[in-house]
Symmetry: C2
Subunit: 362 residues, 2 copies
């Protein structure tokens, strides 16, 4: 089961990952400490693992400074799978009032994707930033910076780079001799992103909500943090969001609902591609019932679009006992997505007008 930040394949055994990566599962006690209200991905098990989240909460309880770092590698447009990630920093900002740093690693995607040029990643970066901010981040408490624009980050990345040998980077990230030297350097940049709040505001607890596949960056950064007199950054690990065509992972093309998809595109994609837990015929479905646990429409309701716990439980029950058909579940899901995206586009336009309030450009 290869799992590096750049290579995720196959079904993932999350319990095994906790063991392999040496992280901790989010147990009931820790879960009960989180301030309410919890957003769907947090309250419904998408956040399954952490490093030192308890220490971050302790620091908050002790009225110490805390912050959140939640970056983005802009290699394409954003889809609904990404919403499940950024709901997490937004939750911490809304509920704990902390600053959220959003470093945008245009350089990473440029290094790694052979076909992307600088103009491409810069366009995706600007596009993605609007989508992330449209989720409702507070301009007073949100700092967005791009590596190709806020190049001052290089000075911090250099200080990190000096503490990472090629051997280490190779071992942690599975670097190959044919990888370019920007790619080799990039782990220093990412670690600098994670340590950035401490570089500029001094030592404090920082929390990084990330896909579990990004954890190698956390391990490396935590090792380095103490050598700068910083606190080890905490992490909260999210499961990978399912693609449309199956409960495996996010992907591209028809396997995703883009945040820019219009109502017809959403309806058509869900009807045509969304993996269903239903039975092959209505008759059989009425008899045997469907399986919401593998149904992508249901999973997206669960992990993001359906805030109401009782409504979600009702859908699960109705689908399981066959009283709700796949077509009905999909219609409900389509309506939810389209309502969300309509509002999302409205907020995105507002953000675009005020983008300078969020951006660190120097």
């Amino acid at each position: 089961m290869p799992i590096t930040p750049w290579e995720v394949e196959g079904d993932i055994d999350y319990n095994r990952l906790i063991e392999e990566f040496g992280t901790q599962s989010i147990d009931n006690h820790l879960f009960s400490r989180l301030k309410l209200p919890l957003p769907p991905p947090v309250k419904r098990g998408m956040c399954f693992s952490h490093r030192d989240l308890d220490k971050w909460l302790n620091a908050y309880d002790n009225k110490e400074k805390v912050s959140v770092v939640s970056g983005r590698g802009p290699s394409e447009r954003m889809h609904i799978g990404h919403l499940t990630l950024y709901a997490i920093p937004k939750y911490f900002q809304d509920t704990y009032g902390c600053t959220v740093y959003i470093p945008v690693s245009d350089d990473e995607k440029f290094y790694i994707k052979e076909y992307l040029n600088v103009g491409d990643v810069e366009r995706f970066a600007d596009d993605n930033i609007l989508d992330i901010l449209a989720m409702g981040f507070d301009p007073e408490k949100t700092i967005v910076h791009k590596d190709f624009e806020h190049t001052k980050i290089y000075r911090y990345a250099s200080q990190v780079a000096k503490k990472i040998t090629y051997s280490t980077a190779k071992a942690v990230f599975g670097l190959k001799p044919e990888n370019n030297i920007g790619w080799v350097f990039y782990p220093a940049m990412q670690a600098a992103h994670i340590l950035y709040p401490q570089f500029i505001e001094g030592s404090h607890q920082t929390l990084v909500p990330i896909g579990i596949d990004q954890d190698p960056f956390m391990r490396l950064t935590r090792d380095i943090a103490e050598r700068f007199g910083f606190q080890k950054p905490a992490a909260i690990h999210k499961k990978l969001a399912p693609g449309l065509e199956g409960p495996k992972m996010s992907s591209s093309g028809n396997n995703a609902i883009w945040l820019s998809d219009d109502e017809d595109a959403v309806a058509s994609k869900v009807h045509k591609y969304a993996f269903s837990g239903g039975q092959p015929s209505i008759k059989e479905h009425r008899e045997k019932g469907g399986n919401p646990d593998v149904d992508v429409s249901f999973l997206y309701l669960k992990y993001f679009f359906e805030e109401d716990d009782r409504k979600l439980a009702q859908i699960a029950q109705d689908y399981r006992d066959g009283s709700m058909l796949t077509g009905e579940l999909k219609e409900y899901f389509i309506e939810k997505v389209n309502n969300y995206l309509k509002e999302h586009r409205r907020k995105r336009e507002m953000v675009e007008k005020n983008i300078d309030e969020y951006m660190l450009r120097e």
Copy 2:
């Protein structure tokens, strides 16, 4: 004979280097094309090799844009050996009227010297910049930038980095697994320095005066240049300047006359440490004569401090036939150096007051 930018050892056979590196010697025809007046290091054989200097001169003759790049890695104070290098870009600026770019690679020295921290390299950078500019560069035609300050260079370095695999960098620079990933990345930064005039001003002929030990950077950069639609940068290769204690290479401590040394320090160092081509006793010297070709005081007169060809020839003759003693040669050299350094310090103070006219800070 290991010769990489970071490791120079032993006596150097420059003809063999021309063959090994695949560069061209500066023949009489090319030499005769250079506009007068020539400064000592150029007219007296210190510049022994080149790549495409003829093309650079052709471009100038055709009234095309030409430029010069002459960088500095600030790991220590500067000594008189460094003057022999920066005399070359100054010559081209004075005589050909072209812009001289002086990229200061504080990051390189930070990556490579374990004991240097960011503050150290930044201090050396600011110090070295004053010494270079005090040689008389024209503020209207000189652009100085430091990697930790003009971090916009990172965006260009990234574009270069994508075109250099780890394998290539390893082969060209002898990188080792225990080197840090900043060091691995640095060749992209250096190539970006060399291509910088073309990145910002469009494709044109650029000339890079460098120590022959830096040629691996040139080969790599020339290979990359065409992939950006740029012209291959030309190079003019300088022999290594001798250290005080022997005609081998530049070095540190008592083996160098620092530009900050006062008159007594210069006199004391030259008398005590400057390698002499004279005989063990005055009697023997009068009989057999000395050898100016290995005498460090003479070599520095030849390569930098004595502009007057007839005076230099006279000294060589008098020293060779024994009529000039080592002590007399040293006294003459000390006087020349101290006169130069006195004027240097005066110009350095003036430059310091107007430093913003030279610096690219954003």
